[in-house]
Each structure stands twice: as C-alpha cells, then as structure tokens.
C-alpha cells in the first residue's frame, strides 16, 4: 500500500468515530479498529521490501520554494516505529472500547486517538524535516486533547496544559534546530541530510542546531530537566497513558535522536549532553518511582527512568549502544503498555490506584495478577523475560563508559538505577497483588477479573514479553535490521548475538547486585519511605505553576495600561504612535520639491469648503445633541459627494450620496432606542488633552495630504494600463466600472461577500437580542418621544408609490449604462434599496413585509452566487477565474449594443448590495416592531377611499 495512504488513513478515519457516535459504542470502536487495521495491513505489505533492505520512498512537491515537500520514506527504523504505533494502537482501541464508561463520549475519544495516531505515523514516515515538524506539532496538539479528555477533572486540564506548554516550547526549539540543520545542508530532505555527516559536524552552527533539536527531543521524551510533565499527564484515561505515555508519543523524541544519530552523534557535545541527561533521568526517575503510591504515577516515573536509559544508550554514540537502544525500545513498549493496561484494570475494578489501600489482589484477580507480574518482572530484569536481555546488554555497554569523575561512577550509578528499578517493580507486585487474602468488601469496590476485552490486549503483549525473553533469536534479525537503519552506514552493525546466557561476566554480577539489592530495599521500604517523606525536595509542579503565574503577571503588567478594554484608549495610543512614526519618517527622509501646479480656486469651491468645515467643527462642538449631530454629519457627507463631482469622480459622488441616505436612515433607526443626548462625561483637562491629540493628528494628516498633492507619484501609476485597456480589453468606457467588474473583479467579488457577511451578522445579532432578555425590555419600553399622530401619512404613501416605478427605472438605467457612463451595480443597488426603504417608511414594516416575495438573505446569496458562477464560467473556456468577454449585437429596431459577461457579474454585485442594505435596515426595524410600533393592516392611517362620504358617493354613482 502506498505510504501516503498509510499516513492518510488515520486522519481520514478520524472523521468517522465522531460522526458515528449515535450508532453506538460497538460501531464506534469497530470503525476505529477497522481503520487502524487497514493502515496496519498496508504497512505490512511493505515488509518484504524492508526485509530486502530497501528504502520505500514516495512524494510530491508541495512548497518547493520553501523546501517543504510531502516526501515519505520507509526504512527499517520507520517500519519498526510504525509497527509499534499501529500494532499497539489496535490493542489500545480494543482496550479503550471496554475501558471507557457509558457516560464518556466515545466518538470524541476515538477521533482524537486516530488524529494522534496519524500524526505519529506521519513523524516516523516523513522524509522531509519540515513535514516532520508539522506532524510533530500535531502530536502535541492531539495529545493535549487526549490528556484533557475528561474535561471535568481539574487535574486533567492542568496536566494537558502543562504537557502542551512543555512539549510545545520544545517544538519551537525543534523548529529552530531543524531550520539550522536544513540551512547547513541546503536541503530539508532527511535522505540528503543523513548523507552529510562531515559537513554538519564541521559547521559552526552544529552546536546551536544540536542544542535546539535536543531540547525538542528531551521535552517530548520527558528527559531531565523536562521530565516533570509526564507524571501529570497521567490524569488522562488509562488507554491514553498506555498508548501515548509509554509506547508512542514519548518515544517520538527517542525516535528523532535515533533518526538523526548518523549525523549528530559521535561528537563530544552529543556524548556529554545526551548521556548525562539520560543517566540523570534514569536514576532520578527510578528513585522517585519507588516512593510513589499511585500505581500510574509509579509507572509514569518508571517510564521516565526507562526513557532516560534509552537516551543514555543513544548518547554513547557506539553502534552497540544504538543496538541496545533499539532492542530496549521494543521491550519497553511491550511490557510497559501491558503494565499500564493492568494498572487501568486494577483502577477500573477496585476504583482506586493507591498502592497503600491495595494488596492481596492475587486471589481476587488472578488473570490481572499474572499479566502484571510478568510485566513487572520483565521490567525488573528477571531472566527468561525480554527486559532481562536488554538490561544485560545495557550494563555491558555502560560498564565501559567513562563520563566524568572516577571510572567506576557510571557503572555504579547505572547499577543503582537498575537496583531502584527492580525495587519498584517488586513493590508493584508485592504491595498490590501479594499479601494475605482480604475480604473483597475492604476495597472501595468489589474487585474481580474483567472481561476479555480488557485483559486480552495486555495478555497479547505479555506473550511477546515471554516469547522474546525465551527465544531472543527470533527477533534478533529484526533488531539488527532496525539497528542498521539507525546507523545509516556510519558504523557496522555489531556482531553480537542476543542470548540469555553469555557466561559469567561483569554484567551478570551487576544484574544480580541490582536484583538482590532491589529485594533488600523493598524489605526496608517502610523506614526508607519515612525518610523520603521527611526529605525536603523541589516540587516540579509548584515551580511550573509559579513560573506560569509570574509570566502571566508580567504580561498583564505590560499589556494592561495599553489594552484596558476601552476603545478610546486604543484610538488615542494609535494616533500618538502613528503621528510619532510619521514625524520620524518626515525628519529623517529626504523631501523632494513640489512638481505639480496648484489648481485654481473659485468662490463656489471656497463656499463648499466653508460649509464642510462649519459642519465638521459644529459636529465636534455640538455632538451632545444627537439629532443635530446626525443632521450635521449629513451635511458633511453631502459636501464630500459634491467634492467628488467637482474633482472628476462622478461614480464616487453617486455612491457617496446614496450611501449617505441609507446610513442616515440607519442611524435614525438606532437613535430611536438610544438616549437623545450625550452627557458630558470627561472633565475639562481630559477634553483638552483629547483636543490636542486630535488636533495634532489632523494637522499631520493635512500635512501629508498637502505634501503629496503637490508632487507626482514616484513611479508612473498602473492606472495608465487601465485607461489604455479599458475599452480594448474590457469593452467599456467607464474605466472605474471596468476596474470594478473586470480588472479587479476578484476584489469586488470579495467585497460583496464581506458586505453580505456584515448584513448577516447584523441579522444574527438582532435574532440574539430578540431571543434574550432584551426582548422583554423592549416589550415593556415606554417611548421617550411622543409618537406621531399620523405614522403613515397619506401624502407620503401616495408619493412613494408613485415614485417607486420611477426609482426602479432610474436604478435600471444607472445599472445598464454603468459600463460606459457613471453608474453600475453598486450605485443601482443603492438606488433601488432607497426606493424599497421608502415603502417601509411610508406604510410600516408589517405592511411591507407582507408584500415581500424573497427573503433578503436569499437575495444576498443569489448575488454572490451569480457573481461567482460568472467567474467560474470562464473556466469552461479554459480561462482563469473571472476572465470577462464581450461582444456587440444588434437586434432591430434597437441600436447596436454591447453584451458583456461583466454585466452579469454586475448583476451579482447589484443583488448583493440590495440584499445587504435591506437586511441591515430590516433588522433594525424589527427591534422597533418588538417595542412600541403597532403592526398595521392598512397602507396608510387615513385612507380617503375608505371614507364614508367617498363610499356613499361611489354607491350613488353605481346606482345611477
């Protein structure tokens, strides 16, 4: 099966469990299992190639400019990890299906799990390191979701946050390191990078790249000093702990160290950093694990310890070290996942994980006892189980490693670590399962063995544990194959046979010391534990929380003065900063001489300017009277449109004046509900300060505008192209309209969509308001202004009816001529909206609504759809989106006229504008309808045609 499919299957399959939630738990679990099984079988089809020593590769270019390509590679190492991920994944899915309680959302759980699985497979199959980084971050995110799956548990939320913080920051460091690495080699493809050992290690950026990449690996694989997040992640459901935190995700860092082993290892920096971190983690983790009373916490710290062991082995930089690391990854994944699952079973059946309460479970849960005991003994390094083999090999490797201090230090520390490891394994067995038989009632819940759904998955793993332990020669070729992939040709695969008996040698003595010592420590557990409790030690979580709190406080201190929630302050700060930056540019840049002649000014222009200025200043001064302010802003808008006419922009003028009308109507509708006056809120000195800031801002804008108005553009404007091609290429003489519907049609398409969204947003806000407490308030509202006696005056009704067809005709005319003369869809849409709004104003909302055929949402949608389809239409002619075409036709008796696809696009613009304007205004009036405006059946208050005298006259006429 194609490698793409193997990576894609979990991601695609992730959709299914969430969607199938209502189909039942069995179906959800089944579909998840099937998806994983398909990916697993797909992986296995590549087994022959892998065994033949081939590297399966596939890929395509994604962003070749960035060096980011979707290239996948499957070699021995990738195959090994993918098998672990998918194989253990299958067992975990079965286990999880039976572990989760009825009230847990199983679809959500399996969706997250599959997302995680896909990301993990992606990491181990990536050939491109940038692609690998994407998957790397995805594992951090999906594990966040999985750890925090029980959202109601505070520990779960905090653990998830801590895991995301630590691994996410490590991920950032990793990005930096990978980019450095790619820069050194000049390629982001792993297959290329792995060939450049000498170039990388000789580069001055080698050490920074190494440090950054190792930070990423250490955070992910919980190495000292980043080990603290893993135990807190145990708040997750046990299937997650077994999957992510023993077998897969925490091994991602290890995987990357193994992947990069050929190019990064072998230097003193690598050796000292990696080996030391691994050694400290191994010993520290083992010591802490011994004194944990929570089963899962014990296993978590033991995982930390074992990850340290593997890291340490990779750090040695020898081929044998790498081989032992590979072998131990396999062994640890089998026994640790089995142990986590048995801990989950104990928790599930007894409702507690506290070792101090447990004990004597051997009699009540024999199956679980066997599974857990074999797993723990393997972890302790007892012969005939797989843990023993890799532990012996580890001791053999470390016995001759010299790090610092006296020569015996490393072997002694490693043996001490193994001793503590054996001790906590014995404690796990002894204090949980052994001991005298107890009354089942003495546990929080009555314990018994679970169904096969829970015990079968760990049992399968235990079969592997025993199988490898008894017959190691079965896996030896595979281990060597993977080792060869890790070594990448840098070193020879060591000629060593994995066997139970290597004769009496130093590792055997060390092993015996560890096991015997472990038993002694367990015997002395009570006094040792008391001593441990009495020893003061730093608590990682407290330190982490303090750091987070300090960072938050600092951020608040820095941000709050700028960002206090009041718009006023942002406006002020923005103005000051922009003016200061502009002033800096002005004083440091060179100022060219004026090149344009000043245009002459007549009295009319000065008069218009004076009106604009008077209205603007008056608005600022008298804004407390809100109605007056509205009138003044209307004057400003009017003068601006007149200015546009005068300055050769007829289209702008028409748009401005129509928008002005609808804006004022809108503000009037809003003012209906708002207070009539604005109270004086700020004291004089604040107003003075605002005036100064506003004045400086205004002066700066004026200076800038005046400056460029007197100078020509530095380079010739692109409009020359538009002017030259408007008729030739776009078939219209109104260049502004041709730009809108043709040259920059895509912009316009986006703009009508934005306009439509704004209108829908207003509609949605109205709906929300009317369904909340505001509705009651509106219903009880007493209008603060007396209502007019004639809300729907006859004169107005008659006039608007008469004007309606005229308005529509004008709109139609403006639309049609838009391509060649001022006009077009925008303006026509606004004109027609005004015509319709007039009907609402004259006869009221209810009357107008009764006569409305199409909902305005639909009009917006139709507009956007027509514009979009016009654009798509050009695809059928092999042209890019929104390519326009036009032709001239003549239908007698009319003159020759033009047909352009751009006109169809303009119909879309027209409809979208009408719909958006009407939907916004309609939403506002809906509020009024809820408040105090009575619905009316009749179009007008006083209808003369319904008057008695008139009716009488009519009857008389008929009588005659």
């Amino acid at each position: 099966m194609s490698l793409f499919l193997i990576v894609a299957l979990p991601f695609l399959g992730a959709l299914l469990p969430g969607l199938m939630n209502s189909a039942g738990r069995q179906a959800v679990g089944g579909v998840t299992f099937t998806v994983t099984l398909a990916a697993f079988i797909g992986l296995m089809t590549n087994l022959p190639a892998i065994l033949a020593g081939e590297v399966v590769q596939t890929g395509f270019d994604w962003f070749p400019q960035l060096g980011l390509n979707v290239t996948l590679m499957l070699d021995g190492l990738g195959f090994f990890f993918a098998t672990l991920i998918l194989g253990i994944g299958l067992l975990i899915i079965v286990y999880g299906r039976h572990y989760l309680a009825r009230e847990d959302n199983m679809g959500e759980f399996f969706t997250y799990l599959l997302l995680f699985q896909g990301a993990m497979v992606g990491i181990v199959l990536s050939d491109n390191i940038l692609l690998l980084l994407i998957f790397w971050e995805l594992t951090s995110l999906s594990s966040f979701l999985l750890i925090g799956y029980w959202k109601h548990l505070e520990a779960g939320r905090q653990g998830a946050r801590m895991a995301l913080t630590v691994t996410g920051m490590g991920g950032l460091a990793m990005i930096g390191g990978m980019l450095l690495l790619g820069n050194i080699v000049g390629s982001y493809d792993l297959s290329v990078i792995l060939q450049n050992r000498e170039a990388i290690q000789a580069d001055p950026m080698y050490v920074p790249a190494l440090l950054l990449i190792l930070t990423g690996c250490f955070t992910k694989s919980a190495q000292f000093p980043f080990h603290f997040w893993l135990p807190h992640a145990m708040a997750a459901p046990t299937p997650v702990s077994a999957y992510l935190h023993s077998a897969t995700m925490v091994k991602a860092g290890i995987f990357l160290m193994a992947r990069m082993w050929p190019v990064l290892s072998g230097t003193p920096e690598w050796f000292y950093i990696v080996t030391t971190a691994g050694l400290i983690t191994m010993v520290l983790g083992a010591v802490i694990a011994l004194f944990k009373h929570d089963l899962k916490a014990l296993l978590a710290f033991s995982t930390v310890s074992h990850l340290g062991l593997i890291t340490m082995l990779l750090g040695t930089g020898t081929a044998f070290g790498a081989m032992v690391a590979v072998f131990h990854i396999l062994n640890h994944a089998t026994f640790k996942a089995a142990l986590f699952m048995s801990a989950g079973i104990v928790d599930h059946e007894t409702k507690t994980r506290d070792i101090r309460i447990l004990g004597g479970l051997r009699h009540l849960m024999p199956i679980t006892f066997v599974i857990a005991t074999l797993g723990a003994l393997s972890m302790a390094g007892i012969p005939l189980l797989n843990g023993f083999l890799s532990k012996e090999m580890m001791l053999k490797e470390m016995e001759k490693t010299y790090l610092f201090g006296p020569e015996w230090l490393v072997p002694a520390l490693v043996t001490f670590g193994s001793l503590m490891s054996a001790a906590y394994c014995f404690r796990l067995i002894g204090h949980t399962f052994l001991g005298k038989k107890r009354d089942p009632e003495s546990y929080p819940a009555k314990p018994h063995d679970p169904g096969p759904g829970l015990w079968l998955p760990p049992a399968i793993l235990i079969v592997l544990v025993v199988g490898i332990g008894v017959a190691p020669f079965l896996v030896e070729p595979f281990v060597k194959l993977v080792t060869a992939a890790v070594l990448g040709g840098v070193a020879e695969v060591p000629d060593y046979h994995i066997a139970i008996w290597h004769g009496v040698n130093v590792p055997l003595y060390l092993s015996i010391t560890a096991i015997v010592g472990g038993l002694i420590v367990l015997a002395l557990f009570k006094p040792l534990s008391a001593l441990w409790e009495a020893t003061p030690r730093p608590e990682a979580k407290t330190i982490f929380d303090d750091i987070v709190a300090a960072v938050v406080m600092w951020a608040r201190w820095a941000i709050h003065p700028l960002h206090n929630g009041a718009f006023t302050r942002y406006a002020m700060i923005a103005t000051v900063v922009i003016v200061a930056a502009g002033y800096h540019a002005w004083t440091t840049g060179t100022v060219a001489d004026a090149t344009r002649a000043v245009q002459p000014v007549g009295w009319v222009e000065v008069a218009g300017w004076a009106m604009l200025v008077a209205a603007t200043v008056g608005l600022a001064a008298m804004h407390h009277n809100r109605l007056l302010a509205l009138i003044l802003i209307g004057i400003v808008g009017l003068m601006v449109s007149i200015g546009f006419v005068f300055l050769s922009a007829p289209d702008l003028a028409m748009t401005q004046i129509t928008v002005e009308v609808v804006t004022i109507i809108l503000l009037l509708l809003a003012l209906n509900f708002l207070p009539n006056t604005t109270p004086e809120e700020s004291p004089w000195y604040m107003r003075a300060r605002d005036m100064v800031i506003a004045g400086v801002g205004g002066l700066a804008t004026m200076a800038l505008a005046y400056h460029y108005l007197l100078r020509d553009a530095v380079s010739s404007p692109i409009s020359e192209f538009h002017l030259a091609n408007s008729y030739k290429g776009g078939g219209g003489t109104n260049v502004v309209n041709v730009i809108l519907v043709d040259f920059r049609g895509f912009d316009t398409f986006g703009e009508i969509i934005v306009l439509g969204i704004a209108a829908l947003l207003i509609y949605a806000l109205t709906e929300t308001l009317l369904s909340g407490p505001v509705r009651a308030r509106l219903l009880n509202r007493v209008p603060d202004k007396p209502l007019s006696g004639t809300q729907h005056p006859m004169m107005m009704v008659v006039l608007t009816r008469v004007m309606m067809p005229v308005v529509l005709m004008v709109g139609f005319y403006i639309f049609l001529r838009g391509h060649n003369e001022p006009g077009g869809g925008f303006i026509a849409g606004l004109v027609v909206s005004i015509g319709v709004v007039m009907q609402y104003m004259a006869s009221g909302f209810a009357w107008a609504e009764d006569r409305q055929r199409f909902p305005y949402h639909g009009v917006i949608g139709a507009g956007v759809l027509i514009a979009g389809l016009t654009g798509i239409g050009s695809w059928f002619f092999g042209k890019p989106f929104l390519t326009s075409d036009f032709t001239y036709v003549r239908i007698p008796p009319f003159q020759e006229f033009e047909l352009a696809t751009a006109a169809l696009f303009d119909v879309g613009v027209f409809l979208a504008v009408v719909g958006a304007v009407m939907l916004s205004l309609e939403s506002f009036s809906r509020l009024a309808r809820r408040a105090h405006v009575k619905d009316n059946e009749q179009p007008m208050d006083v209808d003369p045609s319904m008057h008695e005298d008139f009716l009488e006259a009519e009857t008389t006429k008929e009588g005659v």
Partner: protein
C-alpha cells in the same frame, strides 16, 4: 484647491479623532463615520486632483486616475456595512445593559488617572 482638500481632510480627521475619544457609543460611531470620510477623500486624493476630466473614455487626452476611485467606491459601500455592524453592537449593548459607555464602568476611575 489642494489647500482646501488637504485642510478638509485634516479637519475631518481631527474632529473624527476627537469624537472617537469620547466615552459614549454614539459620538464614537459619528467619529468613525467622519474618519471614514477623511480616509476615503485621502485615498481618493492619492490619485491627485483633476478638474473636469472624469475617467470616462472620450477623445480627451487627460483623465483623472481611475484606480483610487474604484477602490474608494467599494470602500464607501463597505463602510456602510461596517457602520451598520458597529451601530448594531452599540445598540445591543445599550439595550442589554442600559448603559452606552464605551469603557468598562469599573475602569472609569483608572481612566481618570491617566
């Protein structure tokens, strides 16, 4: 003419900024509208001022710059949408809390200090 246009832009900007810095929603909305005018005219003026030469192709040699006009045209329509949304939000908050202050009442005291 250039002086008139530039000063009009400046005055509208100043008044708009002053109103935006008021503490009630309605003047802030008016201020935003004024700023919209100012910005639109400013952008339009970036095509430089031409009198009596609209960008309608004829026999003429000189036309005003059509591109800023096209951009400002859509800006005017979009600004209507934006104003409507802001007004709706202001109205919703007033109807919901019976208070049309822009700033958080709790931070008023602090606002006085600054």
């Amino acid at each position: 003419m250039e002086v008139l246009v530039a000063s009009a832009i400046g005055i509208m900007t100043a008044a708009g900024l002053y109103l935006v810095m008021r503490l009630r929603t309605f003047p802030v909305i008016l201020g935003i509208s004024l700023l919209t005018y100012a910005v639109n005219v400013f952008l339009f003026a970036s095509g430089r001022l031409t009198i009596g030469a609209p960008p309608i192709l004829t026999e003429a040699e000189v036309y005003s710059d059509p591109l800023p006009q096209a951009l400002v045209l859509t800006a005017i329509v979009i600004s209507f949408g934006m104003t409507a949304v802001v007004v709706m939000i202001a109205l919703g908050s007033y109807l919901g809390s019976n208070d049309d202050r822009v700033n958080d009442p709790e931070s008023v005291a602090e606002e006085d200090v600054t």
